[in-house]
């Protein structure tokens, strides 16, 4: 084989390895880009936006069914969407209804047991919560079980700890999106969006199973326990 042929073969082999590595990174590590659920379509200025979400202990919509996950209800179709990127109008009151189907855990940092950044710095809890029902401003996750997950937007100072159901509760959710007939709690709160921008949010219960101190897997993957609020004018 001539020198020119050998160089060509070597170059092709190198390019194939690079392309293969690129494919692996994009396909398996970065994963597909989650879709954005749009709450701005048809929104009348000055009117509040109603958003309904749920946090589930399992999901049937990914290759990792044992990962906990958020779901959001499409404002257009009412279907549960597996997305954590939500587009919201700026300077608008967002009324959130959150269904929590997961069991409770003690917070790693009890600071996240305080409701902050909502209207009145409170949330309304009902359903089969292990902790306190009614108007709640602080959840003590160490004494009342309390928190299953949090919805925390650091850039907005927004933190809402969702009270979970007891491990011993019957009729727990085993398929996500969870059916409303299974045991759950309901949390309602409102917040006002700021000006346009992209605000990341996360859960502050380290619920990524045992990886990376609990902050791997679902905690580190868009579409599960972390995402963005895309606030637009």
């Amino acid at each position: 084989m001539s020198l020119r042929s050998r160089i060509a073969v070597l170059a092709i082999a190198f390019a194939a390895v690079v392309a293969g590595g690129f494919f692996v990174v994009v396909h398996y590590l970065l994963g597909p880009t989650p879709q954005t659920v749009d709450f701005t379509a048809g929104h009348a200025s000055g009117q509040p936006v109603n958003m309904t979400i749920m946090t589930d202990p399992v999901n049937d919509v990914s290759g990792t069914p044992d990962w906990v996950s958020y779901f959001v209800q499409s404002p257009q179709t009412g279907q549960w969407m597996h997305s954590t990127t939500w587009q919201l109008p700026a300077h608008t009151r967002i009324n959130v209804t959150a269904y929590e189907f997961d069991t409770c855990d003690p917070l790693r940092n009890q600071y996240w047991g305080k409701v902050t950044g909502t209207v009145g710095d409170v949330m309304q809890v009902s359903g089969e919560a292990a902790g306190v029902n009614g108007t709640v401003s602080v959840v003590n996750s160490n004494t009342t079980c309390g928190v299953a997950h949090t919805f925390t937007v650091p850039g907005l100072g927004l933190n809402v700890p969702f009270e979970g159901v007891l491990y011993t509760a019957s009729n727990q959710c085993t398929h996500g999106p969870c059916a409303m007939s299974t045991t759950h709690t309901v949390t309602k709160f409102s917040f006002v969006t700021p000006g346009p921008g992209s605000y990341r949010w996360q859960c502050f219960i380290p619920c990524g199973l045992a990886t990376d101190d609990g902050n791997g897997h679902a905690m580190s993957t868009l579409g599960f326990m972390t995402g963005f609020l895309q606030v637009v004018a």
């Binding site: 855990d105 003690p106 917070l107 790693r108 940092n109 009890q110 600071y111 047991g113 305080k114 401003s137 602080v138 003590n140 996750s141 160490n142 004494t143 079980c145 928190v147 650091p154 100072g157 491990y167 990341r200 996360q202 502050f204 219960i205 380290p206 619920c207 990524g208 199973l209 045992a210 990886t211 990376d212 101190d213 609990g214 902050n215 791997g216 905690m219 580190s220 972390t226």
Partner: protein, 327 residues
């Protein structure tokens, strides 16, 4: 040099004193550069002078720059001079001088000057680390360089302008910093406010992985390790805002792990801390007692219950065999 020398000799011209030329050029430019660095650039050198540690670091950077600039200029001036004066001329086919000889004085000067610079900087750096109480860096759980004239006589109260130093605990977690003020009921908040002119003792720790607390304009940087209390000192000298960033790659939201703090007048700090202590009273009651380090999974009696019952608990590290901690 030989080509130019012999070309000059062949042309009957006296060979210029290249060494003197280079030295004069270097001296003029070095003095000018150092004056610009010290008086023009220096006052704007990061991290600024917002605190004692920041001002010390700025001074150190200025000193290093003033020393480095002449060295760098010497290299580039010689490089430029050689390219200009000793380049190959048209028709010059000579292949250098017939022999090379050593220059003992040049070699000795080189060794003496470089040794003096390196050893001098080593001594300067050591002094600048010790004198300003660790220079804003984390000194570990038992700091040996403390600010003069202060102590930790009370962990439950603080009064400005006394020897009792203000304590602030920095708690890092994926992916945000929170701050506890043990002398104000142990309250915890995401806001970092400091009084101007008052020494501060930071206690930096982590609840999960390794982070790094970097208060940029304060010139404070200390690693945040789980189960370890890393102490750093500074004294804010000017009011204003500063940025806190995590400086240790810590996961997916490392780049978003930042917030802002502010240095305010003492009276404003006292008003803020009192109002915040009151506002967070209900939360503070639920926090674990203040400690220099936390074992988050052991402070929770509930987590122990989960462990003993064989239940998984995401809040702690008591995972079941189906989810080993490090699969």
């Amino acid at each position: 040099m030989a080509a130019a020398t012999e070309a000059g000799a062949a042309a009957g011209r006296p060979e210029p004193r290249h060494g003197v030329r280079i030295a004069v050029i270097w001296l003029v430019l070095a003095v000018a550069a150092d004056l610009v660095i010290w008086f023009v650039w220096g006052p704007h050198m990061p991290p600024g002078n917002m605190s004692t540690s920041a001002a010390d670091q700025q001074f150190d950077f200025n000193v290093l720059s003033v020393i480095a600039a002449p060295v760098m200029l010497a290299v580039f001036i010689y490089f430029g001079y050689a390219l200009t004066m000793w380049r190959q001329r048209p028709g010059d086919e000579e292949d250098g001088p017939g022999h090379l000889r050593g220059e003992a004085r040049v070699q000795a000067a080189w060794i003496i000057v470089t040794s003096a610079i390196v050893l001098g900087l080593a001594g300067f750096g050591t002094y600048e680390l010790i004198a300003p109480a660790g220079a804003g860096a984390g000194e570990g759980p038992q700091p040996i360089w403390k600010p003069a004239g202060v102590n930790t006589s009370s962990l439950t109260s603080w009064v400005p302008n006394t020897k009792n130093i203000l304590q602030v605990q920095v708690i890092a977690q994926q992916w945000l910093f929170t701050y506890r003020y043990p002398q104000f009921g142990g309250m915890e908040t995401t806001q970092l406010e400091l009084p101007v002119g008052q020494p501060v003792e930071f206690h930096v720790t982590s609840l999960d992985v390794i982070h790094s607390f970097w208060a940029i304009q304060l010139g404070v940087k200390a690693d945040a390790n789980p189960f370890l209390d890393n102490v750093a000192y500074t004294t804010p000298e000017h009011t204003g805002g500063f940025t806190v960033r995590c400086d240790e790659l810590c996961g997916i939201w490392h780049g978003a792990m930042y917030n802002y703090g502010s240095v305010v007048p003492v009276t404003a700090f006292q008003s803020w801390v009192k109002a915040t202590e009151t506002r967070l009273a209900a939360l503070t009651k639920t926090l674990p007692p203040f400690a220099l380090v936390y074992t988050p999974n052991e402070i929770s009696g509930l987590a122990k219950f989960y462990y003993q019952a064989g239940l998984p608990g995401a809040g702690g590290q008591y995972y079941g065999p189906q989810d080993p901690e490090q699969p």
